[in-house]
Point group: C2
């Protein structure tokens, strides 16, 4: 393979001083890049076919001779392909370095790990921030609406392009978990093991509602300019920041917010009787908003939230989720977190019930954590123990031991 | 009393066709009005003293000869004094007509009910939308920051002004419940019975966080103009609408949203693959946002959310909530709802524990409901039965039977 990996199994890291421009990154990513033309068009659910598209990805570890040890990692809403290397835009560690690396639960000394930016994203895969060849300008809202199935279709092309007929495992949390479920449903013969974490087979009314507020916040910003902001210098930073602040609350639990911040004041002895960020939790949220807009494209945020809203795997199977997995030989490991109120355990149970009904092999664990939805991204020993056990057993079954 | 009540015990109703301008209403309300001058200044927690201020209120029923049957109703964040009469701004029913009226749990044939607009509000009591006599313009952000205690101080002046030495009961939910707790703490001898519903003695980190997002949404709107929008014609409608949409999600439960909307599409057969309000829940939220901005002042929203954030009754008593009620002879009825995640039962329990510790008389009930925080405003038979029992017993103890 052509993966730029070093001897620790991690892709080469950019020093923090060499941060790249996110707009450039959307078209000319520092990641590996697979470009496809009219010979490999991407037919999307909305009816549009992309004749020219690209997918940016990172890989870690080495593909074995059998090409049987590939693990595809699917990222969440605001994630990207930089799962286990320093992010070139932010200069920060990869978003799942606790899980993926040499000796980690997903051991890059044993597995060949692939993570690609989703279609509709903004870190190098084709999306609304990409240049539309027809106009020479960024697509903006001219980009066709993306679905979770479209993301997975694109990933399937990439995996084929890499010469991998069957993935050892597909893993992801949240929107990444939706992709895992879609993979297992669309390409059952190409997925040996599937790990959907903190996710759902359909987005709930409350979650659609939160997303809609975020989108309205972006669109309310006059600098959004009907989505045409990339033609000029202004960005809908205030609107996107508000959207991120609101979303961020939903990623944490009340208990976590209470533990981390409570009603503590930020660098002051007393309330100021102003609208300043008196409370630590306000200051924290404002920082989350500001740092997000520096790395993420506002239109991409609209598209990806919409993709999640549209996701309803049962709807593609006459309303019966079990039919999405009929005859599946994939082995599943489903996990949820007790304090996750965005994708509560009941969502995971619905997946497990459907898998049971379809006769699939499934392990399910509800993990005790007060960290909310974000727990799947954090150092959660119980999750890691579960994954080590599941992946180890699957590897033995696959003959990878 | 001078209350404009008709023979049904309800204040006269304005026909829907005669809706009034909310900006006019902020200064010249159609409600009863008590104006105070330098002889009765309002000293506020922030250190500012208002030399000229006013409080707009509605009354229902008749004050008895002993002046012992007065019930003060405290409204929530976006409520107002029109608790049991048609709202002159919206043309809609009073917000608590299910609870307050002839024969209702709070029976206007027996009790004299008062409800005033809070200081900092925008329906006739002095607030940021009021005219600043010093400048001839609306206060905007020049208005001093308001606390829950300031609201209660102002209400205490009004109650005195009405010649009532002691209230039979003070009742309210959410921000109204905070006022109830403050009344019982600040003026224990003037409150015979107190009914704090779906509330807390201090605002949680998560709730502060949600409020901060709402405020940032308002302030991000360029039409907010640093709070000076009332000098011109434009209003920060988009920002305020986003704030309201986000807040509205927190007033409902996931179960209620699922039951009401689920993933139903709005007047269409299939997804449009656009950012239109495909889902009913999106359409509903957008309507909530739009209708809110027609009746509520954006700055007032900033001020009142801030007042809730600042509320921490224990903090005024060395961090010990029980001390806020030391020696209290008031009888309390505390109620929460199972699906209220904004003010969960644990918040009510903390109040009950403090009241128990202080030796106060307290009834507590957690009511089964899937309607979320808004349950306290709805037709909840169990709540009404509880209140009839509590208020009836209190009335007998007060000699009002």
């Amino acid at each position: 393979m052509t993966a730029k990996t070093n001897r620790t199994g991690k892709a080469s890291k950019a020093p923090a001083s060499a941060l790249v421009d996110p707009v450039r990154e959307a078209n000319e990513p520092t990641s590996l890049l697979a470009r496809f033309g009219p010979e490999r068009p991407l037919a999307m659910d909305c009816g549009v076919t992309l004749d020219r598209w690209q997918i940016a990805y990172q890989t870690y570890g080495t593909l074995n001779a059998d090409r049987s040890n590939a693990v595809l990692v699917c990222h969440a809403l605001t994630g990207d392909q930089h799962v286990a290397n320093t992010n070139p835009v932010t200069g920060k560690s990869g978003w799942w370095e606790v899980l993926i690396g040499p000796g980690c639960p997903i051991d890059t000394d044993r597995y060949f790990v692939i993570c690609s930016n989703v279609i509709g994203g903004c870190l190098g895969s084709t999306g609304p921030a990409s240049l539309d060849q027809a106009t020479g300008r960024a697509y903006g809202l001219n980009f066709p609406l993306v679905t979770i199935r479209d993301m997975v279709r694109a990933q399937a092309v990439l995996v084929e392009h890499l010469g991998i007929a069957s993935l050892f495992a597909v893993i992801g949390g949240s929107m990444g978990g939706m992709q895992v479920l879609q993979w297992a449903s669309s390409y059952p013969d190409r997925v040996f093991a599937a790990v959907p974490l903190a996710t759902a087979a359909r987005h709930s009314a409350q979650n659609i509602a939160f997303h809609e507020v975020g989108r309205q916040a972006v669109m309310a910003d006059p600098d959004w300019q009907g989505g045409r902001y990339l033609d000029g210098a202004k960005r809908p930073s205030k609107g996107l920041s508000v959207a991120r602040m609101g979303a961020h609350i939903t990623y944490l639990s009340e208990a976590a917010l209470h533990r981390k911040f409570g009603r503590n004041l930020q660098d002051r002895e007393a309330r100021t009787f102003t609208f300043d960020a008196d409370f630590q939790v306000e200051s924290y949220l404002r920082y989350q908003g500001i740092s997000f807009v520096e790395r993420f494209d506002a239109n991409s945020y609209l598209y990806l939230t919409r993709a999640m809203d549209y996701f309803d795997l049962a709807a593609d199977h006459g309303g019966v989720l079990a039919k999405a997995f009929a005859g599946s030989k994939t082995r599943f490991c489903v996990a949820s977190f007790t304090s996750d109120w965005l994708f509560p355990t009941s969502d995971s149970r619905a997946i497990v019930h459907a898998l049971n009904a379809s006769g699939a092999s499934v392990s399910f664990v509800e993990l005790e954590s007060d960290k909310g939805h974000d727990a799947f991204l954090l150092d959660e020993p119980e999750l890691f123990a579960t994954l080590r056990g599941f992946i180890g057993a699957a590897a033995r079954a696959r003959g990878l031991a």
